[in-house]
């Protein structure tokens, strides 16, 4: 299973309510987008990183591994603001440094918000939340089944890939392509087969079209929610007065 999923299942805030976590995440994201990036975005980075690492105790290694790709991409994008290119060639853009810093700060703050949510909240909780917000049951069920069976399909694909490699299926580029084609071609019937057996298993337990299960929804903690709102108010006040 993916490290993101594992962190989401095993972090200390796993059983905090979805409401608290989304209020914190979306609130901070809104502040990031609307307030001038300095110092608000810097404060958001500080708050959301500490919430993930110190509050929810997401392993630092996992957090860094997930952060490095989007942040690297955003920083490279920000660097491009430093220069301007015209007919005479490339020159340093006037005010480019400031613009790049602002963009980098703001986008990194956004990433920390999303990382917090992704690393503390299992996908199934998120889908459950969307369901309560009015996502049609059918779509929610299909999304949950996809989430569940993605791991199985992924495992199967990895195993098949290893089996191909063991018989030199990846010896050169041509063979690699051919092996990949065979793998994809084999996954489809397997997936259909599994779907058929899933249906048998569900029917054996009285499936009648709906996928109702008991979910243990965490109760919203008022102090938790209040704290999230308080931190947001503090960041907003600081962002407005110090900018």
């Amino acid at each position: 299973m993916s490290p993101i999923d594992r962190a989401a299942q095993l972090n200390r805030w796993r059983h905090r309510s979805l409401t608290e976590k989304t209020v914190l995440t979306l609130g901070m994201l809104a502040l990031t987008v609307t307030l001038p990036p300095y110092p608000a975005a810097a404060a958001v980075i500080l708050v959301m990183t500490s919430a993930a690492l110190l509050g929810a105790r997401v392993p630092v290694r996992v957090w860094l591994a997930c952060a490095v790709a989007p942040m690297g991409f955003l920083l490279v994008g920000a660097v491009s603001l430093l220069v301007q290119v015209d007919a005479t060639g490339a020159t340093l853009a006037p005010g480019g440094g400031m613009a790049a810093a602002k963009l980098a700060l703001r986008s990194c703050a956004g990433v920390t918000c999303l990382l917090f949510l992704a690393l503390t909240t299992p996908t199934s909780d998120l889908i459950g939340g969307l369901r309560r917000l009015g996502l049609p049951a059918e779509i929610a069920e299909i999304a949950l089944l996809m989430y569940r069976f993605l791991f199985l399909l992924g495992d199967t694909a990895m195993t098949m890939n290893a089996a191909q490699a063991a018989r030199l299926g990846h010896a050169d580029a041509g063979r690699r392509m051919r092996s990949l084609g065979l793998l994809i071609g084999n996954l489809l019937p397997r997936a259909l087969d599994r779907a058929r057996r899933l249906e048998i298993g569900l029917a054996a337990r009285g499936w009648n079209g709906g996928m109702r299960v008991l979910s243990n929804r965490a109760a919203v903690s008022v102090p938790g929610l209040a704290l999230a709102l308080l931190v947001e108010a503090a960041v907003a006040a600081m962002g407005l007065t110090l900018s």
Partner: protein, 273 residues
């Protein structure tokens, strides 16, 4: 007392030779039945007939003396009484957590949330996986998944539980835990029937054995009788359980009285002097 019977079942998958032909089988209350046969004998196909998933081209399935029908309501009533656990637990566990998955059956039966919750807790405790209730299925070990799948069937409190190769692929510890959990179910009055190709497992754990090959039931009877019949076993491409073979030898040598029951397990036979 007979609870579930298959009478003259015949079935062929579309365009293939018959997977079951003229098959008879009886499940008696409280008598654990092993459906024993080599790979490809049609064991899984048979189980799928016993809970109404597949419909025979001829023959019938009889539950408590009443022939079962295939209408939606008949099937619902049938599946309440006869639970099924598939060989691959990953085919059965679909929900985001173990507890959610186990609650699926009880809710489909129309129970209230409180009743369903109670059943989930009880089923998880009976299978020894109460601590894993909140885990998603992909974070369970193979043996834990297996027990979670059985808990899902158990929570519906069926009279009869059908298990497809329950110990296949399990390690020693996993098998021991699983067999203990099954014994606990039996103590609550559930009748078990399971498929296997393992003669030793069948002899050690089943009261009755139906010997099965090529879609036909070759014989059904008490485990010590059926599994001592060499020619029948040979016909099904199986051989006599090792413990039984030793037991018969010990009886011949006078180590076991002629009318005493034969040892069933390695431990029992090792205890002989």
């Amino acid at each position: 007392m007979t609870v579930l019977e298959a009478r003259a079942l015949t079935y062929a998958y579309p365009g293939e030779i018959p997977a079951l032909s003229d098959l008879d089988l009886t499940i008696r209350r409280g008598r654990r039945l092993a459906i024993l046969g080599p790979n490809g004998a049609g064991k899984t196909t048979l189980l799928l007939h016993l809970n109404g998933t597949l419909r025979p081209s001829s023959g019938r399935v009889v539950l408590d003396g009443a022939e079962m029908g295939y209408s939606r309501s008949d099937l619902a009533a049938w599946r309440r009484r006869v639970g099924l656990v598939l060989q691959d637990a990953d085919d059965q566990l679909f929900a985001a957590s173990v507890a959610e998955d186990v609650s699926f059956g009880p809710l489909n039966m129309g129970l209230t949330e409180a009743e369903a919750r109670e059943r989930v807790e009880q089923a998880l405790a009976a299978m020894g996986i109460a601590a894993l209730a909140e885990r998603p299925p992909h974070m369970l070990s193979f043996g834990q998944k297996k027990r979670a799948a059985i808990a899902g069937a158990m929570a519906m409190r069926p009279d009869i539980l059908l298990l497809d190769e329950p110990t296949a692929g399990l390690d020693q510890r996993g098998s021991v835990l699983l067999l203990a959990a099954l014994a606990a179910l039996e103590a609550r009055g559930v009748t078990l029937a399971f498929t296997t190709h393992d003669v030793d497992l069948a002899f050690a754990t089943a009261d009755e054995v139906v010997l099965f090959d090529n879609g036909k039931a070759l014989a059904q009877g008490p485990a010590e009788t059926v599994l001592a019949n060499r020619s029948l076993l040979e016909a099904a491409h199986l051989r006599m359980p090792f413990v039984l073979e030793l037991g018969l030898k010990a009886r011949k040598r006078g180590l076991i009285a002629p009318d005493a029951p034969l040892p069933r397990t390695r431990e029992e036979i090792m205890a002989l002097d």
